[in-house]
Point group: C6
Chain length 248, copies 6
């Protein structure tokens, strides 16, 4: 749905150079956005930076990791030039997905059914409320989707989750892992349909080099560029550059 530049709706600035201008000011606050791409395209780095820049602005962030331990994540974060260790402890919470599963009572279930699905949403939203988090990352939702097992439940999970977060004014990034060689936006093909936005990270082979790219495929509540940008991971954080033109 088109929205005039500068018009209503508060924005949540990602703090990532270039991305906020692609989005005409940032992600519409309360939106749940899929950050999707194959392995090595920078999904985790972009999501961490979204949380860190929020903390710099005084917003509490929660990072729920399915794979890496909080120690590993903290270890990986140190070299950023702009990172202040104290901020990490005060403003950013790290949790493992397993803790959420335990809280929701679904840790033992192979397939999460409709009841478990609701407990799972509640368990995450409870954490968001308790921590007064304004930014949330779930890295990744792919293993959750696998346990939900039907397309219908994946739809219900993402749309129910997104509704609940909108109510507490929390802006979320859901990381989605696409198998290499796939041209899809998500492994189950429905995640992108029910999300408010889709940020697609990709690879671009150019003269033997494998560049990273970023494209905002969809974002409800704002107009935005859909052009493909080169994404560069540097010690100054994620940088975006137009793919083919010199200036902006």
């Amino acid at each position: 749905m088109a929205k005039a530049e500068g018009s209503g709706g508060e924005r949540c600035q990602t703090g990532i150079d270039g991305l906020d201008s692609i989005l005409n000011g940032g992600i519409p606050r309360g939106n749940t956005t899929l950050v999707t791409g194959t392995c090595g395209t920078g999904k985790t780095s972009l999501s961490l930076e979204f949380i860190i820049h929020g903390a710099e602005e005084g917003e509490v962030g929660l990072f729920i990791a399915a794979t890496e331990t909080p120690e590993k994540l903290r270890g990986s974060m140190i070299p950023y030039d702009f990172l202040k260790p104290k901020m990490l402890e005060e403003k950013i919470g790290f949790m493992r997905l397993e803790e959420i599963y335990d809280a929701a009572g679904v840790a033992r279930e192979v397939v999460i059914d409709d009841k478990g699905l609701k407990s799972l949403i509640k368990a995450i939203v409870d954490q968001v409320k308790r921590k007064k988090a304004k930014r949330l990352v779930v890295d990744s939702i792919t293993s959750i989707c696998a346990r939900l097992s039907t397309e219908d439940r994946i739809r219900d999970f993402i749309s129910g989750f997104s509704d609940a977060l909108a109510k507490v004014d929390c802006t979320a990034l859901l990381v989605s892992e696409v198998p290499s060689g796939s041209s899809n936006y998500s492994p189950y093909g429905v995640e992108e349909a029910v999300s408010d936005g889709v940020v697609l990270l990709g690879n671009l082979e150019r003269q033997g080099d494998l560049l990273r790219t970023l494209q905002v495929v969809k974002m409800r509540g704002t107009t935005h560029s859909r052009a493909k940008y080169i994404l560069d991971l540097t010690s100054a954080g994620v940088l975006l550059a137009p793919l083919l033109k010199g200036g902006d």
Copy 2:
């Protein structure tokens, strides 16, 4: 089936610049048209505008959403230049698909069987009759199709639905979500065969930019252009421009 320009059959003007002229005057009234495409191609925006322009002409519209809450949809609609809030309340009804499921008594069923299928059609048509709606959008039918589960029932649903709407002179858009990377018109491959029309929204990558496109693949009861147009989402609504030629 070919139909002479200007010849019989009342048209339902979409009000979308360019689309009505592609269709030689609009959608033949009573037709049920599939609006199909991958995520971010503008399916919801186009469908909302179809409803809004109808309201401007005094026609009641009903928008049934599978994913977004009416609040979210209303929120997204505000920035349109031509939008008058009062019109929204008087002429446009928003419902969630869940309300329809409840009315049809299929809310608890995982797979909707032949009996449920008929209840579902009846529940929607009842709403259309009660509201005296002349325009209907179901955004989207993809999760309904998943619950119908067999190709045969999907055919029966769309063709039964289309017959019932034709009788009450209601023109409908059924939004269909195609997974990215697919070159199909629909996820189940039969939806397009039983619809009266197919409007295909797509992406076109050009020099790093991801353009939106629109193509009328099929429309019963009228001749029409099958050329591909560039679709632009602006604060003045959906705009269409020919893909390769300057004027029209």
Copy 3:
């Protein structure tokens, strides 16, 4: 099997400009031909015109529709320049596939077994005999094939059907719906092998425009061109033009 031009075997003229000359005089009478293609390629228009031109020549035609109601079909037919309403009533019969299912006693079965398959063939042929039809269209056989469920039964259905029609000298078109994005001649891959002929309707994207094409892939009992033609739907009916060369 090759057949000399002008040599034996009566032809059934389709009345479609160009198609009869592609076929060196028309479809060999008694042949059962698959008319196949994706959505919007003109399968129904071509089939209707085959029936109408037969009626103009005094031959009774029967049109069995799986999806559209006879009312809708009649409504769509009116704008043709050459159409005379009276002819429609006298020479052309419209039936819904459901009536055939009822007559064959398979309306309640999900999967049609070997016995149902024979009843189904008999029910259609009975209608052909009763109406003394010389031309038959089944639009489409795709949902029938889905209910036959095994490749073997699809083969038996089409070849048994084709044998029975040949005996009563009736020339038939069986419409087959191919999902978009498929390069196959039929959804089950066996329909084309057991048909006497295959007319393939397709799309050709040229400079942003989506043209319709026609190709006679196979026709038993006659030599024929296998070249691809441009198919145009006009108020004067289906027109064919060579794809690349000026004249004929």
Copy 4:
């Protein structure tokens, strides 16, 4: 296995201009060859001509058809310039596959098991012996393979069949139907591995025209060209022309 030109091993001349020279004299007598291709590529025409030319040389031929009735086949054959009706009756036998199924006692079985497989081979070979046939065509084996259902049984059928025919010095063509859009030599992927030869018929799109092509992919017991030839169906029978070079 390479074999010197002119060296040992009697040949069975197909009588088809060009094919015998591609094969350095004909098919090694006793070989069982797969004739494979999509619909409309000329498999039946080529096989019929193989039988007819044998009859002209005084060799009895047997044609077993899965789909077409003997009447239809005889009807299609008449226009050939070189065809003498009397020869048809004396030297060529036509049977339907169903008669073979009846003789083998497998007519009622959906899946043909190991025992049925042997009965089936025996029933065909018995016919070959009784008629003293030196040439055999089965058009097609695809529905037989479907009923054999496992790759292992398909292998056993073709290799057992081929062994038995070699013992009675009968040269056979087995027609195999490949779905359009497939680049395979056979629907089950094993038929070609166990056959003595593979003749691949194909389509070649050139400037809008759909040409037929022939390629001998494999032939045990002789060297042969593997080049692609243009196949033309004329009233003088099948003609082959080199694809790119002028003469031969």
Copy 5:
């Protein structure tokens, strides 16, 4: 693992011009090599020549055929210029796979289980020992793999087989049939991973001609060229020529 040219490890010369030099002297003795390719690419010819050249050097060879009878194979072998019939009887043994199945007691089993798998390896190795064979061909292993049915058992079969043969210093070629149109090295995707070497035979279409190609994709225990060569089947045996360069 790289190995210096001329360095340790005895080689088993294939006797095929070009192949031994591609392999810097031959196949490392005791290696089990997959010879893989689609139908008609020369797998059987190459394997037979490997056995025959061994016999010329005084090494006993064993050829186990899944499809062809020993008679047929012997018949196909005669025309080679270098073939001496006496050698065939003294140095080369031909067996059918069925005999091995009988010896292993798995002839009646549809699926060969872990126990059968070990009996099968033992039955083949027993034959190798009894005949004191230094070269072995199994043409093909594809039907064995089908009966092993799980990827795990296919791995266990090939790696157990390869270990056992290495102990008796026997160099083996395992023929693997790839369906046409596949770009894989094997039908199950694991055969190549557990073999010591992979020789890939392929087709190359050039100006309408279908050339055969050979490529050594992998060979443990030696460096080797991985370039693609043209393979020619002549009465002087298999000949290899570089694909693009004149000399060597």
Copy 6:
């Protein structure tokens, strides 16, 4: 996550010319890296060299092989110019995966369940601790993944394994076998998501020659080049050269 060059985090030098400079000093110590590619691309050679160069630096290495026997592996290693036999015995341990299965008590299970999964991780880590190994190779994990059977357990295995190894400061390479013709990073599509790094080995066909390539797709805890390099297997070990540019 980006990390400044030269900044914190100890590196584990692979000793492979070029690879350490691609990684700005080596693999971050404690990382678990997927070495993935189709057959013949050099996965085993690269992994062995990683272990050998560690031994040269005095670090104990453990090589767990799923397919090859330790004898075969030792045999293949001799020709390296830099290899000192004594070092092999003192610093490098070779084990077969079967020994690990026995120790974990899962040798008899077809599917390894959650309990077996933990025993398996423990059994490997126990070996690492006992031998005080600082480098580990598992060649390959593909058959383990097959036995884990669900994507969820594959995730749990790799991430649990990687956590446990990080704690004992052991840097690991997990070899992953991709079927030829696949463009994926792994057979199950999840292995790459939970690994700390992905080194992709591939093939590049150039003028008939099949070159090997290496690309670091992902490496947590360091910046790195993602360009494609030519990988050459020589008697001096693995060599890397830039794909398109002369120098570095």
